[in-house]
Amino acid sequence: MKLLLVEDHRELAKNIITYLKTEGNICEHASNFREAIDKILIYDYDVIMLDIMLPDGSGLDVLKELREQQSDSGVLIISAKNSLEDKVKGLDLGADDYITKPFDLSELNARVKAIYRRKNFSSNKEISFNEIKINIDSTDVFIHDVPVNLTLKEYELLIYFLSNKNRVITKQSIAEHLWGDQADLFDSFDFVYQHIKNLRKKMIQAGAVDYLDTVYGLGYKFNANKV
């Protein structure tokens, strides 16, 4: 994927770029409005991550520029303001998704990939990894070409793991991914554990390799190097 990050905080940008680059993605960075406009005029990107508050302008104006160019880049808005108004405005201007600071890098990664998949629907409506095949359109999961019956949460969990292969994903991040704001509820992350346990069981029963490693006390990791 070719990505552009428009973000004025250098350290935050560094985090995001470091995380996204490891999968062989190209991730460019614009630290202000002017740079962002320069870049989108010259290059095409698959997904643009756009901070709304820039030192010399609004990210929403970058969106308008993209629309004028009839660009088919996907746009993920990054905002520090959890304000509904900005969200609605952004989505109205053609953004694909919206994420609020502070976010988990694994969540950002999953969202970027989801946008990418949606934008390239015709060519890429399948996620496949070794024996696992997922049809995004019908939400069917196949292992060794045999359908596996997953619940909605298990399905979402699997996609989340496949988007963040070989990454340690924290329990908090999983909980937030599955339940959004309601993740605040968890006194313990037993719920996450239960879902993971069920998913793992179904996968192994269907003959898949046990890719899920437990990182003790912290979270889980989809270990793609197991064969």
Binding site: A80, P102, V168, D187, G219
Partner: protein
């Protein structure tokens, strides 16, 4: 009571005292003037009589009931001086016409002619003190009544005209809305006191508006400025996690930092939300079908209810409509349900009752050693767990205050009972 009417009544009270004093003064002046005139008249009569007597001593037998001439041998020593020549006194005399005793003024004096000496007494009717008093009293009273009526009526008329700028100021103040950030713009009225008041109010509302604007900006900025460093720190920890060969001790350190940062971020979000609610930023009132909203919220929580194996019992009346901001109501329901699920017992119970009057959420949970009402205070938690912010119920309370709903929290053993009554909305 209107200010001007009250002032008028005070003035009337003072006027009453002045009229009383004025009455006494008038009365005395009348008496003095009448006496003086009567005395002068009596002296004149005396002079006439003296002239007659000097010419004709026989005149002393004049028969006039008002004059008495008594021949004397000599004039008493004490009455010889010029100063003591006339002696005036009041006396009662029978009045033939009125058939009663009347007050008369009497002059007693002595006259010495060439041939004889006389004592002469002359008296005449004088205006009675009672009559003077009555006259003065009547005229004063009538004047006072006329003055009173005129003043009260004119105070009504004048107050309308005089207090017009003041009433305009009052209207403007009533119309002042802090959220519009528009200070009142009160003009000149031409009356010094009102102009000072208007100037003061203009200054005050300007100050209030700018303070409110600053506060709002601070809240927004604080949230923005805090979220970014939190996001950075969180991201660094996530990157750190991706390092190969971390030992357990390092993982534990990362985990507890990660948890604290997540907690901090949630606190920040809740505090921002709380101040947004306090600033009444959610004021987009519409009709909301509360029954549907509750069903929707319950569907969202279904997963968690199942996972905690709670027994859910709902009695939700259809089509309960309230008027409020939709976001506020969603936050309210979310916080209430979260609370009831989070603090529930494993395999516990959750009862939800909605009627047109009230929403009652009952859940099982641990018995608490602090009174239920305390839970609405910020950062008060039943158990001091680190995972929750302690702001959920403060947010509930704030929303209820704003919407004028009555909210109570009762704990009976292991039953926790939150009820919200909507009033007559």
């Amino acid at each position: 009571m209107k200010l001007l009417l009250r002032a008028t009544l005070f003035y009337l009270l003072i006027t009453l005292l002045v009229f009383g004093a004025g009455g006494i003064i008038t009365y005395n002046i009348f008496i003095d003037a009448i006496q003086l005139e009567t005395d002068r008249y009596l002296i004149e009569r005396f002079r006439d009589i003296s002239t007659y007597l000097e010419e004709d001593p026989g005149f002393s037998s004049i028969s006039d009931s008002k004059i008495q001439i008594i021949p004397v041998n000599n004039i008493p020593e004490s009455r010889r001086g010029r100063r003591n020549r006339f002696n005036f006194s009041d006396t009662l005399v029978w009045h033939q016409g009125l058939k009663r005793m009347e007050t008369n003024r009497k002059l007693t004096s002595y006259l010495k002619t060439e041939t004889a000496s006389f004592q002469i007494e002359i008296h005449d009717v004088i205006v009675e003190r009672d009559d003077i008093f009555e006259g003065v009293f009547k005229s004063q009273t009538r004047l006072f009544v006329i003055l009173g009526i005129v003043m009260v009526i004119s105070s009504f008329l004048i107050s309308r005209w005089l207090f017009k700028p003041f009433n305009q100021t009052l209207d403007k103040i009533k119309g002042f809305n802090i959220k519009s950030l528009q200070p009142t713009q009160l003009g000149k009225s031409g009356i010094r006191e009102f102009d000072i008041l208007n100037g003061f109010i203009n200054q005050m509302t300007e100050k209030v508006s700018s303070d409110y604007r600053n506060l709002k900006e601070f809240t927004e900025n604080a949230s923005h400025e805090l979220q970014t460093p939190i996001a950075i720190a969180k991201g660094k920890l996530e990157l750190l996690l991706q390092q190969e060969n971390l030992n357990q001790e390092q993982i534990d350190l990362i985990e507890s930092s990660y948890e604290s940062i997540t907690h901090m971020s949630k606190l920040n979000r809740s505090l921002t939300l709380l101040s947004k609610i306090e600033n009444e930023e959610f004021s987009n009132t519409e009709s909301i079908n509360l029954s549907e909203e509750i069903e929707k919220a319950l569907a969202d929580f279904n997963d968690l209810i199942e996972l905690k194996q709670l027994k859910l019992d709902t009695q939700i009346e259809k089509k309960v409509v309230i008027h409020n901001d939709r976001t506020l109501i969603k936050i309210l329901l979310n916080n209430l349900l979260q609370n009831a699920i989070r603090h529930n017992l494993e395999g516990g119970q959750l009862d939800i009752t909605l009627s047109k009057k009230a929403l009652i959420i009952k859940n099982t949970g641990h018995a608490l050693d602090i009174p239920g009402e305390k839970l609405f205070e910020r950062f008060k938690k039943g158990q001091q767990t680190e995972k929750n912010t302690g702001l959920g119920l403060s947010i509930v309370k704030k929303i209820c205050e704003l919407s004028q709903y009555q909210v109570t929290y009762e704990i009976h053993g292991e039953w926790h009972n939150v009820s919200i009554s909507f009033g007559n909305d």
